[in-house]
């Protein structure tokens, strides 16, 4: 599973990445977390507010720092 954090390196993006990491550990999922910081690449996902969370190329949230349990929900959905 590949998780991407979209955002140009703001504090919120770091927080979201940390939460995503915690969620993968809690769910026991072997996932790679990538950071996408280029504005053009971010626009390529069609989101209008950062940070954005992308799981296996699907945008699941934008403009919010989800907590680990919210991310876990998305991880479980993505795994099914």
């Amino acid at each position: 599973m590949i998780i991407k954090i979209l955002g140009s390196g703001c504090k919120k993006c770091v927080a979201l990445a940390d939460n995503a990491k915690a969620a993968t550990q809690a769910e026991g999922i072997d996932a790679e977390i990538q950071k996408v910081t280029d504005i053009v690449a971010i626009a390529g996902y069609g989101i209008m507010a950062t940070p954005g969370l992308v799981i296996d190329e699907k945008v699941v949230s934008s403009g919010r720092v989800l907590n680990a349990s919210d991310i876990s929900k998305f991880l479980r959905e993505a795994r099914q």
Binding site: I39, V40, A43, G46, M48, A49, T50, V60, S62
Partner: protein
């Protein structure tokens, strides 16, 4: 009834109690006379910093709560359903309740344009968003008065509506970078339907984040304000920016455009300038130049639009705020 309103305005908005408290602290605590230069500057600094941080926290909390009902996807849908000048007006109004950060302008620009919103509407939104927000109304009312606050908002909205419309008329759609039009439109379930608890959390987080981002600008702004207030000779300021100098508005614009700060850091400077006899229009022009145009946001915009369109944007906004400065200077007696 009138007396009660005036009292509420003085105590809650202008925070007379805080001013009195700081006067007492500076006089009895530090042994300085607030009527003297040093004591006056110290008073200005302590009082303004505390007042701005109190107002900033309360205002950002309330506005972020409202804002949580209008995520960008919803704003885009609302704007897509409207046409002509009405669309520009709604864009300018929605710009007043959207994020204060210039860093969000690029994703918004791409998201709006790729979804087919006209440039006119997008630019109305982009001009209004940093220039006018609900926080600035209350702050202006606190530092100056209500008629100046409302006039600032009204004229800021007019600038956003007319500026956007003018940019739209110039048919510069080919001056947008190609990748913008090719960007996908993602409309995932973000329509603002979240629980009240989430809205409150969001509002609280926004206060923390914005306070962390702007505190230094506020301190610098109030510091400059305090220096202008009592340390810089009045003759110097009036020679450069005095009411009788026709170039004062131009100087304020040239000084303000490259500067990067938000309204919280800029207001104390404007306040001190007006106290020193600078025209109201000149001070407002300075504030608008600092908040509406800044080098960092222009550098970011350059990545999505080509130079001619960027030039038109800067030109329209600059001419607009210069005109506003002269109009306000000529009519200032109506507001004070």
């Amino acid at each position: 009834m009138q007396d009660i309103l005036i009292w509420l305005n003085d105590q809650l908005l202008r925070m007379q109690w805080l001013s009195d408290l700081v006067t007492w602290l500076v006089r009895d605590g530090f042994g300085l006379d607030t009527a003297e230069r040093i004591g006056g500057s110290v008073h200005f600094f302590i009082y303004d910093v505390i007042k701005i941080f109190i107002l900033l926290s309360v205002l950002i909390f309330s506005i972020s709560y409202v804002q949580s009902y209008f995520p960008p996807e919803r704003t885009r849908r609302i704007l897509g359903q409207r046409q002509g000048l009405w669309a520009n007006t709604v864009a300018a109004l929605l710009g007043t309740i959207t994020p204060f950060c210039s860093c969000s302008s690029i994703p918004l620009f791409i998201g709006f344009t790729s979804a087919g919103l006209p440039l006119a509407v997008t630019f109305s939104f982009l001009i209004s968003s940093p220039l006018v927000d609900l926080a600035s109304v209350i702050l202006l009312a606190s530092i100056f008065n209500w008629s100046i606050a409302l006039a600032y908002v009204a004229i800021g909205l007019v600038l956003a509506i007319l500026g956007g419309t003018l940019i739209g008329r110039l048919k510069l759609e080919d001056q947008v970078e190609d990748f913008v039009y090719q960007s996908p439109v993602s409309d995932h379930d973000n329509d603002g339907a979240i629980s009240r608890r989430e809205r409150l959390t969001y509002a609280r987080d926004q206060v923390a984040e914005i306070a962390a981002r702007v505190w230094l600008y506020v301190l610098i702004g109030v510091g400059i304000g305090a220096a202008i207030h009592n340390l810089i000779p009045e003759g110097f300021i009036s020679a450069l920016l005095g009411q009788d100098k026709w170039w004062s508005v131009l100087v304020a614009t040239v000084a303000g455009v490259p500067m990067y700060a938000d309204i919280f850091g800029t207001l104390p400077i404007a306040e001190a300038l007006v106290n020193k006899g600078v025209g109201l229009g000149t001070a407002l022009t300075f504030m608008m130049a600092v908040t509406a145009l800044s080098l960092p946001s222009l550098i970011m915009l350059k990545r999505v639009v080509k130079l001619p369109l960027l030039g038109v944007f800067v030109g329209v906004v600059t001419v607009g705020i210069i005109l506003i400065g002269y109009i306000f200077n000529a009519t200032a007696h109506l507001f004070v």
